[in-house]
Amino acid sequence: MTPKRKKKLALIGLMLSALAIAVGLTLYALSANINLFFAPTQIVQGEAPLDREIRAGGMVVDGSVQRDSDSLNVRFAVTDYNAEIWINYDKILPDLFREGQGVVVVGRLNETGEIVASQVLARHDENYMPPEVAAALEAAGQMPDHSPFRNQAPQNQY
């Protein structure tokens, strides 16, 4: 390689690394805004604003879903295996919504520390399998973990 080419290559490398540092610092500074949702722990600790549209995410707690018998109203708890928060919702839930499944809810936090949701989105994980395999894994208690809070989650809870 001629010296001139070496110099050019070094210049491009320098430019890219400077840019990467700048972008990296910006993203780090904005990370609170880039996170799509608040985890229940953050909400319990008071990091989420009251009475403003926020998003909260977590796993629907097993056995927590309470449906109203004569309306669409539904109440359920969402957890990150550290703290729990209750959600109230009065519209149609997505097909993938079930206990033990990840959800992201859009709504407002009220004074009692519960979220009144205007939208509930199902979050699914990266594990795909045929129904027979899923049934076999379930029977053996080996179902992979679906949670976005993998590091806090006890292994194979669901």
Partner: protein, 249 residues
């Protein structure tokens, strides 16, 4: 092997050699694209098992994942071509980059569109401003910017250098797309395929997906070569060898 590769690299740098060598490659890319895509599509859409949670709507993965992989790797290839143009001044690198841009834009659009269609039945929304979706949208705009920049600048050499620089700068976005699902809380799930772990799905599901990815790459090779060969003829239209080849046909 190394020597063979460097000779090939230098030969492909000459427009005349590029045209002749790639002419021999074309049918291979075409045949493998057609075979791989038809096998992969039928296998994935008909014979692969359905997902235990998502049922049949999971099958859109066989279009979504290959187009998303291509969208990102085409951009990386364009950035590498940009470095080759700026440092080694190889003009053929620019021809290849120019041929790739619309295909990359198309792949990114396809990944966004199939993702949106997939999102409606599974998530309950077709769009969410989460880090993965947003960074992918930025990639789409980068492709559009590259196409527009090329059209906006004259002469060709200036446009080539500007596009190379933009391609190199924009490559920062690629690791952000890749790691967005690990760095932040997103609606999009983490990667099913990583180089370090075995895929998070059984072979009956990932084999057709692998075939689709290879088929998409073959299709990329085919279409890029077709476009690049036409562009070479256009750029070299005043030289003797172009006149000769065209007269022969």
């Amino acid at each position: 092997m190394w020597k063979w590769l460097t000779t090939l690299y230098h030969r492909l740098g000459s427009p005349k050699w590029f045209y002749q060598i790639t002419g021999r490659w074309l049918p291979w890319f075409a045949i493998s694209a057609l075979v791989l895509l038809s096998v992969g599509l039928v296998w994935g859409l008909v014979y692969a098992p359905m997902d235990y949670q998502q049922g049949n709507s999971f099958r859109i993965i066989y279009l979504h994942v290959p187009s998303a992989i291509l969208a990102q790797s085409i951009y990386v290839m364009m950035a590498i071509a940009g470095v080759v143009l700026l440092v080694w001044k190889m003009k053929m690198a620019d021809v290849v980059a120019q041929s790739m841009a619309p295909i990359g834009a198309g792949m990114t659009f396809m990944a966004l569109a199939t993702g949106a269609i997939w999102g409606v039945p599974t998530w309950g929304t077709w769009w969410m401003w989460d880090a993965r979706l947003t960074s992918m949208l930025i990639l789409f705009f980068l492709y559009l910017g590259l196409i527009a920049l090329r059209e906006a600048l004259k002469p060709q050499e200036v446009a080539a250098k500007a596009c190379a620089l933009l391609a190199i700068v924009g490559v920062i976005n690629i690791p952000i797309i890749k790691y967005s699902v690990d760095w932040w809380y997103t609606l999009h799930q983490p990667a099913t395929f990583t180089l370090t772990q075995k895929p998070a799905m059984p072979a009956s599901m990932w084999l057709p997906l692998l075939i689709m990815v290879l088929g998409f790459y073959a299709l990329l090779g085919w279409s890029v070569l077709l476009r690049a060969r036409a562009e070479v003829l256009l750029r070299e239209r005043k030289s003797g060898w172009v006149r000769e080849t065209l007269e022969k046909k």
